[in-house]
Structures are given as C-alpha cells and as structure tokens.
C-alpha cells in the first residue's frame, strides 16, 4: 500500500524529478473519481444508511412507506370508481391503480429528492474527495429499496384481488430496470443543474406533476382520446407503465404496437427519447461534476 521508503541515511538517492516514480496525474473531481469499486461502496453505504434513517427514525417506520401510497390509492380509487366511474370497464382497475401509483411514486420521490441532493450534501462535496455521481445515484437506490418493500404489498394485493400469476411476471424486472435507468438519468440531469440554477427546483416540481398526468397512471391508455394517445407515446414512461401492466396484471391489455397503431416511428420515438435523456444525463453530469463544488 505504501510506496518504498528509503530509510534515513540510505545512500540510494532518487533524483527529485524522477518521472519514473509512481506519481499519478490528479485531474480533480469527476463523476466517477476513485474507480468503480469505490463508487459502488459509497453508493451502497449512503443509500442503506439513508434508508435505515427513514425507517428507524420514525416511530411507525416502515409502515409509513406503505401507508403513503395506500392512502393516495384509497382516495384515487374512490374518485375514479365512484365519482368518474372510469375504472368499471377496466379489468383489475383497483390493483392497476395501486401498482401504477407505487411505480410513479418511485420516479417522483427519486427525482424530487435528487434535485437538491448535491446541495444537501454540500459538506461532503466541498470538503472530501468524493465521486459526484454517487449522490444522485444513492438517492435513486434508496428509493429503489422503498419500491422493493412497496412492491411486496402490491403483489399481496394483486393476488388478493384475483390476478393470477403469469410467466410474464419474470419479465417485469427488465421493465423495472428500464424505469431505474430513466429515473437515474433524470436525477443526474436535475441534480447537476440545481447548484447553478436554483429555479430548477420549482420547474421540476411542476414538471413532475404534469408528468404524473401525462403518464397512464390514473387511466389506462386506451381510454385516452386517439390523438392524445399518440402524444402520450412520446413520454418514455408510457411504454414502461404499459409493459408493466401487460406483463404483470392484464395480458389482454393493448400491446405497445396496438397503441402505436402499427406505426414503427411511434414505437421508436419513446426509445429514442429514452436514449436521448440518458445521454443528456451522462453528458451534463460529466460536464458539471468537476466544478460543482465551486458552485455551492
């Protein structure tokens, strides 16, 4: 671990400017400074401690994480089945609603916490050697742990409401992975912009709310007007939610190609936007990471 140290009085003298000694160039902070191993260790430690903090910091602990989506679910269920009578024609509407709320909750919770995350962790950013990427990613990982717990409850409800287990359940983790990647990319974008442009906090909270309605969460996509469906397809969250529905709850739900009306372009559009968001996230974060400590 330590480099060879000639003892005092050692006659072997290295020239002071020896280019051959184990000197490594230091290029300053970056998104991944310190290598993957350290990034993974730090992300895990920060995510797990944050997770523990929320659940062991309050009296009811874990119960809150379940109660929050459940109470929102209860309210929306009453509104959409009793007031608007939307749900009656949709198979398993109640569990679909719960499932969607939990998934969307993950996205919203992650991104909303990520916006201010770098500023919140100011002490670490300004005073330690720290790979910047860890901060937003740890936020998403913490939210992912919450999502895991919530999904257990969701699947209990699914079975209780008579959804039969399907082979396509095994595909669901891939869908979840796509959601995780998208959420991380968005978190990287908002968290890297916020230190310089504090307006991002407000803009994002409004945008996030708009996105809640522009994603088939409360309603199944086929209930939306035809043209609106096309617009919804541009939202990369739409295929993620629709695939989750098709694979987990209702295999008869309209497939993506049905929604796209056979248009390949409309099928590729969300994929392209998804990729663009990911690239933007990586590019922006790499650009901002080296100087982010100076902006705080």
């Amino acid at each position: 671990m330590s480099n060879p140290v000639p003892t005092l009085g050692d006659t072997e003298v290295e020239p002071t400017d020896a280019p051959g000694s184990a000197l490594r160039e230091v290029t300053g902070p970056s998104a991944l400074g310190g290598g993957w191993r350290r990034v993974a260790d730090l992300t895990w430690i920060i995510a797990i401690t944050e997770f523990k903090r929320t659940y062991f910091g309050t009296t009811l602990g874990y119960l809150w994480s379940i109660l929050r989506p459940l109470s929102l679910f209860a309210v929306l269920l009453v509104v959409f089945t009793q007031v608007f009578r939307l749900g009656t024609a949709v198979p398993h509407y109640a569990v679909l609603l719960l499932f969607n709320i939990v998934l969307m909750g993950f996205f919203q919770e992650s991104t909303a916490t990520a916006v201010t995350s770098i500023v919140t962790q100011e002490g670490i950013v300004r005073k330690t050697q720290f790979p910047r990427l860890v901060i937003p990613v740890a936020v998403v990982v913490t939210a992912l742990m919450n999502l895991g717990l919530n999904l257990i409850v969701v699947f209990v409800f699914l079975l209780a409401f008579g959804v039969t287990p399907m082979a396509t359940w095994l595909l669901f983790p891939f869908d979840l992975f796509a959601l995780f990647v998208l959420t991380t990319a968005v978190s990287m974008i908002v968290s890297s912009l916020y230190p310089r442009f504090r307006d991002v906090g407000i803009i994002w909270s409004v945008f996030s709310l708009a996105l809640f309605y522009a994603t088939p969460v409360l309603y199944p996509i086929e209930k939306a007007p035809e043209t609106f469906q096309k617009i919804l397809m541009l939202n990369p969250l739409t295929p993620i939610f629709e695939l989750a529905r098709e694979w987990v709850i209702d295999s008869n739900a309209p497939s993506l190609s049905t929604i796209a009306g056979g248009s390949t372009l409309l099928l590729l559009a969300p994929a392209a936007i998804f990729a663009a968001i990911c690239l933007l996230g990586v590019w922006l974060f790499r650009r901002e990471a080296p100087r982010i400590a100076e902006e705080l």
Partner: protein, 408 residues
Amino acid sequence: MRDRSAIQSRPVVIEVRDLHKHFRVPERGSGLLGRARHAGGGRELRALRGVSFDVHDGEFFGIVGRNGSGKSTLLKLLASIYRADSGSIRIAGRLAPFIELGVGFNVDLTARENVTLNGVLNGLGRRESARNLDAILDFGELREFVDLKLKNYSSGMLVRLAFATMVHADADIMLVDEVLAVGDAQFGQKCMDVFRARRDAGKTLVLVTHDMATVQTFCDRAMLLHNGDQRYLGDPEEAAVRYYRLNFGKSDEIADEPTAVVVDAWLADERGERTDTLVERTPIDVHLTVEALEDFVRPSVGFDVVGLDRIPVFGFGRTWDDDDPNPVAAGERLVVSATAENPLVPGRYTVDATVARDRGRGATVLRAAPLLQFEVLAAPRTSGRALDDVGMVSVAADLQLSVDSEVA
C-alpha cells in the same frame, strides 16, 4: 534533531507544476436570469497564479498565508475537490484530506455507521473500514457509545470521534487544514502528539495554517502564498518571518518597498522563554522587534488581544513620548516588550499588532496584523474562586453571602 536535507533526497510524492485557478464570483443570486445576464461577467478572483512545488516522502510541508491567500484552494486542488484551470498535480500513494474535522458525519447515524462511512469516504474498502472501528473507539475513548447516534453525542465526544477517525485513516499522505484550531488545549496537545508520531513514522503531511508556531515546530519546509502568488518556498523560519513582513502596509497589498519589517515576534513565559501557551492569570509578555527601513519619527505600537471569531477582548499600547524627535533611524531596530495582566479565560487567542512610524502623520506600517497565536490553559481551581468561566475574561471578585433571618 530531524535531518531536513535528507528528506529532500527522498522520492517526490506530490509534484505541482505551474498551477492556476480562478473563481468567478457571481454578483447576483443564482437565479436563471441573474446567471444568464452575467454569463460572461461576474468578478474574477484569481485564487492561484502559477504555483509549483514538490513534497518529498516523509516530509512535513507547511502552506502559510493570510486569509484569502489561496492556501485552502490549493489544498482543495490537491484533494481533488476543485479542478485546476491549468498546470499539473501528480501524487504518489493514497491521500486523505482533512479539510475540516468530522466532515461527512451524519448525526442521525451511530458512531459505528459513521466510522464505516468515513473510512469509505477516505478511500478504504467497506471491510477495512469496519475493521478500524475498535482502534478508533479506543483512541477516542468512546467504546461504550458505539451504538449511540451522533446527535446524542456531546461536542467534545464528537471532536474525539472525528479526530480518531482522522488518525486512523492511515493514508500515505495527509492533507490537514487548520484542524488544530478546534477543541481545547488538551485536545490540541493530543493533535501535536499524533502529528509527532506520524512524523516519526515517516508519513507525509501537508499542513495549511496561519499559525506560525505550528509551522516552525513541525514543518520541514514551508511555502508562503500571498494573493495567489507563491512568495516563498523553503525554510519554515524564513517563511514565518516573511509572513510577518507581509502583514505590513496596506491590508490588500504589500507595498513594493515596505517601510519596516518584523524581524521577530514572540510570547514569553515566566522564565522568559518562548511559548505559545500561558497558564491562566500568568501575565501576557509580548516581544516584537521591528527593523525600520525608513526613519521612525514618533512611533507608536499597539497590541490587541483577539478571541475566537475575531472578537477583540482588550488592547494596550503606547506612543514614543521621549523628547528625541527621531528615535529610530533607518536600519535600526525598534524593540518592543510589553507585559499585560492576563484576565483571559482558557481558550485560543491572537495578538494583533499595529505599528505607526509617525503617529502624528498617520504613517501606519502595520495595521491590526495577526502576529501571534497563543492558548490560555486552565489553572488548577482553588477554593473560593468564581463558580465558572463565563464570557471572555475572569476578574477578581469578592462575594459575601449571609443570612438575614429578621425579615417579617
């Protein structure tokens, strides 16, 4: 005695070449519009201008300078917290920065969790970091509080834990920024002991400070920074003298031709020896030697004793009131020795000096320049003394307590 020249022939572990760094100070808030309007504008602050130096393996290297001289920026560049505009930094071995004691501690977590987190922050693996726990707890004398959340720790316990994690970071190179400035005298002593032990163990340390006593005691070499320029590199004693000299003249800039130079400044203990600690109530004995580069007409000298957060506690001084109108000629030295009563409560203080060459004409050569830092240590308590130290000074007081039982 440590052989300073032998260290110079060891391999270089930090190599810095022509380092530049500037900051843009926005003049408005960080709103979208404010930013856009000032996209190319804002005041530019040149924090470092062409700094180059080498630190050798096992060397204790001091970086000194006044506030805003760029020393903390340099440390943050070395620590990969900031990125340089140009120039290069090359480092051999694992480096652990300590910009502040206890950075990254989360008060909602227990000591155990914080120690692991901190270890990983400082480049250890998760297991290695957990393995250090016992040693850290023993060093901080905190074994029984391992599962207590830090928010329930006293501030003293926090400092102990923070310092213990720092000591056990076990990096090849440590970067330390003024950590010595926190904590009480006993803690300061412990810091010194640890540094001494690390030095004996052949570890490398880069220390940023404006306490000249520490630099002179510990460092093998020192670098003096002023307004981002590298003013001196070499002997720590010389660096200290030049540091004092920089405090002459206008506060933002040194005159090209200073009118006087601080040759020496020190605090003496009861035996007349140099010290930076005083036991409570022992007199403050300040010595200052100034070499005049121009004639001093009616010189005056003032000292201010300043507490933490730059709060002045008291001051004393006098003007040359001899009949001789021209007491100090160019090339001569003005020797000042002053003794003041010491009412200070235990803690860290600075002596600021103000020297005027010709008081009547306002020719100030040194204005409120921090000259010395010292620590007042608590004296053993004698009975009949006041209950506690409140405020910044303790004064002799006489209290009579009696009972009046005749009240109706």
